[in-house]
Symmetry: C2
Subunit: 196 residues, 2 copies
């Protein structure tokens, strides 16, 4: 992978800087890639939409910020609205459908991370880690084993099980998304063949 | 301040990424400056010396990484050796003298942050926050009130008092350093006047 740009966005308190650091350490320390991880403050935080970025590359990184993200995670409507237009045309948009109700494209992957955290983990706090699991599984930007190692090395003592479960939930969500598109694809194939 | 570059360096586990994020939030969110905060992984981490950077500016920031730091905090001998030569000639070097025994310049400000944390806070964990307090007081890069607000908004519930105390210790250290240089200056003045 020459250069892969990831932007994690949402509102303050969702743990997106933490998620970005974990992602960077998974790719850098565990997968052995070149990685830069940044956050910016100031007018760049468009209308309350906060972001943290990770640039991953097999080669040395000249410019450390995302220019045209390959992957955008939007965990709030505001951040989705603010950052969608920066996404590469072929890029992947993953949204937290707990908060993002208006999708800018039909290709968006919508998963209710925060609702899942609330219902399956008992608190919303784990939504960022669920999102990381889904993002890694869907994009392949980092290996799942590296991601798990990075998460576990960063979380507070005693919180390992909670975070491991959050990661698993995220990977499960990603699997469900793929199954859904496979079903859609099957239906489309069927329609295609009936046209012949 | 047109552009002020800070590099926090040491070994993994010293909480330097956390310190950099707090510093960035103090300058960005609370002081209203433009701020970029980065960390890089890969061969850039020279020989186990890890670093996190904060660039603060009154103007929009074009390049988000430190080019010639104005301030280097080195909390290990390795990071001091690796990064001292990047420092601006007029830059400020602050070292944790618990670990840095060989100073590359007589102008280094040496404070045993980790030893102070161990002796005054009962655990080494607070050394990064003590260092932040000293760094802010000595450099004026962020206001102390903003730094306190940023620290308290980022630490875990229940850890506020520990971290407030750590900050105060850092500011106290900075004061002692200044007093020392003032005493040296007085002695020098005295010698100067005796020469006349």
């Amino acid at each position: 992978m020459a250069r892969y740009e990831i932007r994690l966005s949402g509102f303050g308190g969702q743990g997106l800087i933490f998620a970005a650091i974990v992602l960077a350490e998974a790719a850098g320390t565990h997968d052995g890639k070149y990685v830069c991880q940044t956050q910016s403050y100031g007018p760049e935080a468009r209308g309350g939409a906060s972001k943290a970025e990770v640039v991953i590359s097999d080669e040395e990184i000249d410019y450390p910020k995302a220019i045209k993200p390959d992957l955008l995670l939007a965990m709030s409507q505001k951040s989705c609205d603010a950052y969608f237009f920066d996404l590469k045309p072929s890029g992947m948009l993953i949204v937290d459908s707990t908060f993002v109700k208006q999708l800018p494209t039909s290709r968006a992957i919508a998963i209710p991370f925060t609702r899942i955290a609330r219902e399956k983990l008992g608190k919303e706090l784990g939504a960022n880690i669920i999102a990381l699991g889904a993002l890694a599984a869907l994009s392949g930007a980092v290996s799942l084993s590296s991601l798990e190692a990075a998460v576990l090395s960063r979380v507070a003592e005693g919180a390992e099980e909670f975070n491991r479960k959050a990661l698993e939930l995220g990977i499960e969500c990603a699997g469900d998304t793929l199954k859904m598109s496979a079903e859609v694809a099957e239906v489309e194939d069927y329609e295609d063949s009936s046209d012949q």
